[in-house]
Amino acid sequence: MRPDPIDAPASETAYLDGIQQGVLRYQRCAACGRTLTLSRLACPHCGSADLHWLTSNGSGQVYALTQVTRAPSEAFRALLPYTLVLVDLDEGPRVMAHGVPGLRIGQRVRARPLQAGSSALMQFHPESAMPEGPP
């Protein structure tokens, strides 16, 4: 098997560091080849700790969504109403992020960086409305 191109060093903050840089990262198990949701310490399929961080191309499909009208903090009150989505990336992992208004479950989407106040976030847009290429 061809070794993975490792896009980011192993780090407990690799995912958030990626968001700061405007990309979605995900882990892939070097032992069994499967891609993983969230940040793991061991592969849930084979138990290997040899996990590599890769960069997603940002495309996927909406699994679930909600429009939030009650924010948990002052910082997010300024954004109301906002849409939260769970998206299944084409590479396999599922991510939680923001979405533009009007998305529906099952829709093809693509991620784009969103700066909200001092917070760096990712926001999904309908794929048809997006130019080609990585975010």
Binding site: Y15, L38, T66, L86
Partner: protein, 360 residues
């Protein structure tokens, strides 16, 4: 193996208990449970306490034991979100069945409503989300459940009006319980018109934040009253964070219930459940009402009896035990012989099912 019986229950009213801390509320409930079981403090040789968000202590069970005057031979503090109460009952029964303890006091409570600001409570609870992958998006517990609900509605064809049926039913049941937090009747139209929180959920689809405490005693000796035994228990823990839940149709609830039913020796048909997506239709037909074939949350559940953290989940087990003992007063279900209690913690993360039975 011995059999484990629930021999005493107690709880405070749910709602606002201004100035009463977590330990004081727990003591109120524990005192009632001991009195109900006709037991002295010294009879308790096992103690299980659920965590309190308003009292994040390293050793809550022994802290409570000292204050309440117990010297248990076994003590644990348990943290499993909303599944904690059911998990403690399962653990208490195992301690009794194995012969490790004779009588285990299970207690939980906190001043979740009056002991902190609303924002503080909402932010504390939101931390069940993943600190890197979820919480930075501005999430809340209602938003996590709204994401789940959006997918569940999509897959089953359930509607928002269907969800409202259950909120209305819980309020109807709570209206007959003097200790319930919310007792004013509501209609489907009022649920539908209530303030949006996170689509598809509106304010009346969501639990209140309550102060309150619940306790019960699990014993090897059935005592003199009706014999309510824990026939089976099961757990399942398939994910912690919502993002890692592969399918909303397979959260672990069924796996936990299956384990509990197998241990109990009962078939699911002896308790009965609505088919997937069929709960609202059955609610409309009155099947979940007190006199229906499958009475559901006759105390009003988290939605209307109230949600005081661990105690909120435990209140279901207390209600089930009282129904089976024939001691539910005006809420009494006719011919109650078996009850299924299910609790989940986190965001459908931890599941615990209990099968209770009236013996003899």
């Amino acid at each position: 193996m011995h059999t484990a019986f629930i021999v005493g229950t107690g709880h405070t009213a749910f709602g606002r208990h201004e100035g009463r801390g977590a330990l004081a509320l727990m003591a109120d409930a524990a005192r009632l449970a001991l009195a109900d079981a006709a037991l002295e403090h010294a009879a308790i040789d096992g103690l299980l306490c659920g965590y309190a968000t308003t009292l994040p202590h390293l050793m809550l069970s022994t802290l409570f034991a000292e204050g309440f005057g117990l010297r248990p031979a076994v003590a644990h503090s348990v943290q499993l979100g909303g599944a904690t109460g059911a998990a403690m009952i399962m653990q208490a029964a195992d301690l009794v069945r194995a012969g490790r303890c004779q009588r285990v006091l299970v207690v939980a409570g906190e001043n979740r409503l009056s002991g902190q600001t609303r924002d503080s409570s909402i932010q504390t609870l939101a931390q069940v989300g993943h600190p890197q992958h979820e919480v930075p998006n501005g999430t809340s517990v209602p938003a996590y459940y709204a994401l789940l609900a959006s997918r569940y509605l999509h897959e089953t064809g359930t509607t928002e009006a269907d969800l409202a049926e259950l909120a209305v039913l819980m309020r109807q049941h709570a209206a007959t319980h003097p200790g319930a937090h919310l007792r004013t009747p509501i209609t489907v139209a009022e649920v539908m018109a209530s303030k949006p929180v996170a689509t598809p959920l509106k304010l009346l689809d969501c639990c209140p934040i309550s102060d309150g405490a619940v306790a019960l005693v699990v014993s090897r000796d059935a005592g003199g009253g009706a014999r309510v035994a824990l026939l089976g228990a099961g757990q399942a823990h398939q994910h912690q964070h919502l993002t890692a839940l592969a399918s909303v149709m397979d959260s672990g609830a069924a796996a936990a219930a299956r384990r509990a039913l197998i241990e109990s020796g009962l078939a699911l048909a002896q308790i009965g459940l609505a088919p997937r997506g069929g709960a609202a239709a059955q609610a409309r037909e009155g099947r979940f009402a007190r006199h229906g074939p499958l009475p559901l949350n006759t105390h009003g559940g988290l939605l209307s009896f109230g949600h005081s953290g661990v105690a909120g989940g435990m209140a279901h087990a207390v209600e089930a035990a009282r129904q089976l003992a024939g001691r539910a007063g005006e809420r009494q279900v006719p011919r109650a012989t078996h009850a299924l209690v299910h609790a989940d913690g986190g965001v459908l993360s931890s599941h615990v099912s209990l099968v209770l039975s009236r013996e003899g």
